[in-house]
Symmetry: C2
Subunit: 443 residues, 2 copies
């Protein structure tokens, strides 16, 4: 029986035209985060399963992780997220590293879940973290980086909204203001996390079910709803407006506004899935009517590095998945037209393979990427191959051209064919690339 040609379910093959999009996106990501002084790191895709048992959300470890025993009996997992790994790496060199540490990575991550729009079993995720800053300047920078990335893709700020909340505020509301115990508070937070995916009546029924009779009597459901529905700080119940975590969120929004980032709002319903966040959390939402959803987010997690038996390090970070990012870019028509890396396709006429090596070497040494057809097919068929590959220039070369040192350069886009020496050909093909790159910049 023949082998299947399908990739593993929920994972993607990247043919060159797909890989080109990924490379473009990753290139923009790298350049945008490096602007702020971030340095790239990486780590093995396999980790000890223990690493995820401590602080990742339960659902993820129990049901969604690719875990197995290796041949030596070690329990291992294919990483479902990068945060535990980067915390491990910082902990391993806790004393040697120079803080503040600005690190980023674009790992592939695996989760066993039903593949759906924006969620695949394998995806790549930009992870950006700053270690060693306890002050809100860290949140300001990390959210500026998020904004800087989207700006680098030429997004307008009207296309997305950055929502802020604070775990400290949520804790205060659930534990002190409403009076839930720890177990209740955890369940209610998980419920709030899902509330935008259920209808309102259903949310209230489930919330009600989590309350004790006396909480119910004291109006816990209504009280909590008043907090969650507030669209502005001033719409919050007066009793909670003075909590210090809110002052911090306000200050942060003000700082961001001064940097021109005017699409940041407070949202008391923002929970974020992971259990390790300790303070400010944020999430970026797509404002497009056909893609009105959370794109990615992050927050402060000051406790993770300390799990490795070293002194904790205050940390703020975020993860940005490639699938949701690409959906965002596509729906807002922000993906530029991308060209193959190959500049020139050479079609030989007659038995000139040996003589061709020198001019080919010269073109390549001048920085051009040049593919040679050696199928021996008819000239027309070879040119069609170049067209199918999207290559811009073709050179049909026979003995005469090599003898003269002058070559036909045909632009497959315009159909224009000109005869030039090699150095002029290098200039034309190089110029074309530059012009084109500049055009992309203007989008």
């Amino acid at each position: 029986m023949a082998l299947s040609t399908q990739p593993y379910k929920g994972a993607r093959d990247f043919y060159p035209e797909d890989k080109r999009i990924q490379k473009y996106m990753f290139g923009v990501l790298r350049s945008a985060v490096e602007k702020y002084g971030y340095e790239e790191y990486d780590a093995p895709i396999l980790e000890s399963l223990d690493l995820y048992l401590a602080k990742t959300g339960e659902e993820i470890v129990n049901e969604q992780t690719y875990a197995f025993e290796d041949r030596g009996g070690r329990k291992v997992a294919i990483r479902p997220e990068m945060t535990p790994t980067v915390s491990r790496m910082v902990a391993a060199k806790r004393q040697e590293l120079a803080y503040p540490l600005r690190w980023y990575s674009i790992p592939n991550l695996w989760r066993y879940e039903r593949p759906q729009r924006g969620r695949l079993r394998e995806h790549w995720q930009l992870n950006v973290d700053i270690f060693g800053l306890a002050g809100v300047e860290a949140e300001h920078e990390v959210i500026s980086v998020v904004d800087g990335i989207l700006q680098a893709f030429h997004a307008k700020r009207s296309m997305y909204t950055i929502k802020l909340n604070s775990r400290k505020f949520t804790d205060y509301i659930l534990r002190e203001y409403i009076g839930f115990d720890e177990v209740q508070a955890y369940s209610v937070a998980k419920l709030i996390d899902r509330m935008h995916k259920m209808d309102r009546a259903d949310f209230i029924v489930q919330l009600d079910a989590l309350c004790t009779p006396s909480q119910r009597e004291q109006g816990a459901v209504e009280q909590l709803q008043d907090v969650l529905q507030a669209q502005r700080f001033t719409a919050l119940p007066a009793a909670v407006q003075q909590h210090p975590s809110l002052a911090q969120i306000r200050f942060l929004i003000e700082l961001l506004e001064e940097s021109g980032i005017d699409n940041v709002v407070f949202d008391a319903t923002l929970m974020r899935g992971f259990d390790y966040y300790t303070d400010v959390v944020f999430e970026v939402f797509d404002n497009h009517p056909d893609n009105n959803r959370s794109l990615f987010g992050g927050g402060r997690y000051d406790g993770l590095v300390g799990l490795f038996g070293v002194e904790p390090v205050p940390t703020v970070g975020f993860g940005m998945g490639d699938v949701t990012l690409q959906n965002f870019l596509e729906i807002h028509e922000l993906l530029p037209k991308l060209h193959p890396e190959t500049h020139i396709y050479v079609v030989p006429v007659g038995d000139v393979f040996k003589q061709l090596q020198k001019p080919l070497a010269e073109l390549r040494a001048s920085g051009l990427n040049v593919a040679l057809d050696t199928t021996g097919r008819k000239i027309g068929a070879q040119i069609q191959t170049a067209e199918k590959k999207g290559i811009h220039y073709v050179m049909v070369i026979g003995e005469q051209e090599i003898a003269d040192g002058r070559y036909n350069l045909k632009n497959l886009q315009t159909g224009v064919e000109e005869k030039h020496g090699l150095s002029r050909i290098v200039t034309i093909a190089t110029d074309y690339r530059h012009v084109d790159e500049t055009e992309d910049e203007d989008i």
Copy 2:
């Protein structure tokens, strides 16, 4: 108990200084192969286990593969090599693709083996393949690409030797010339593959044990040794010199020599581990006395795409591992000094965080990567952080500098400190990078 900070055994964490080396190496690889018109592809790290059962060497599938059952009962493997995957991808679009197809990828691969020098459980491997060419021009090109890569790293041809053999020649020798049956031939080929790791007497004992009494009597062991020991074509027994596979190897060596690649030799002992090769095989050896070993190799495998139930596609390719490549570059002192991506480290004096945002944005918009220290530590401590990170320039900025629009730029390498406007600072920091990159080119 605290969590371990160690990465999984046999796999590497890449701290920014390690990642920088990898990025440099991968950048050179990409640029060198794209010169020949190769396009990058990628695929999921998990594949169906079936994919490897057909044609990969037995040892690898049975003992060395990370295989497990997913939660849906599918048998999956973390890819131990990329060739089956790329063959699958070509087969999936057999009719749509434009041949010749030039593809490359730099996947990470996993093998369960005892970690040792040059062999780790996780490594990255450049895979370069050309699909759709039956002629020896394909081998010429692929070996030219190998050479082009090493030249791009500024290696001299005296540093490495490219060894060639042909599976067709090996088959002819073992089956027809010596007269082994299929099972014997397979075992003898595997023995020859290991012969340079054992002493000569041991090799002869094991070879002898594989022969039938009549083969032994007819001098099979000596006959085979005569072939394997030949250092030149003319040193081969006269009876085998005329085999057509040798004419092809000779022609290939001649073609490569004409392209300046004069370090290619024939070696009848070259086997290559994988079972799927069908014709020419090659391997690159390090000539350094302290690292005299095989670096990487490849060959022609015309049968793999056909295993997926489509018409076969002639293919030549190779895989080049990052660990052996880095060892080679290090032992020959070919790795350049690499700098962090961050150009300027900004040390604020006093409460200038808000006012700093504008000049920082201006520097970043001009293409510079600028990190800001917001720890509030003493100036000296902040500058030390910049030094520890290897960043070249520091700007100490207080209210006066922002008011004047003139800033101190200190070169941490030379100690020179100058006062300039922002645009001049951009020029200096940019120029420095360019000068430096040019210097690297000259190594």
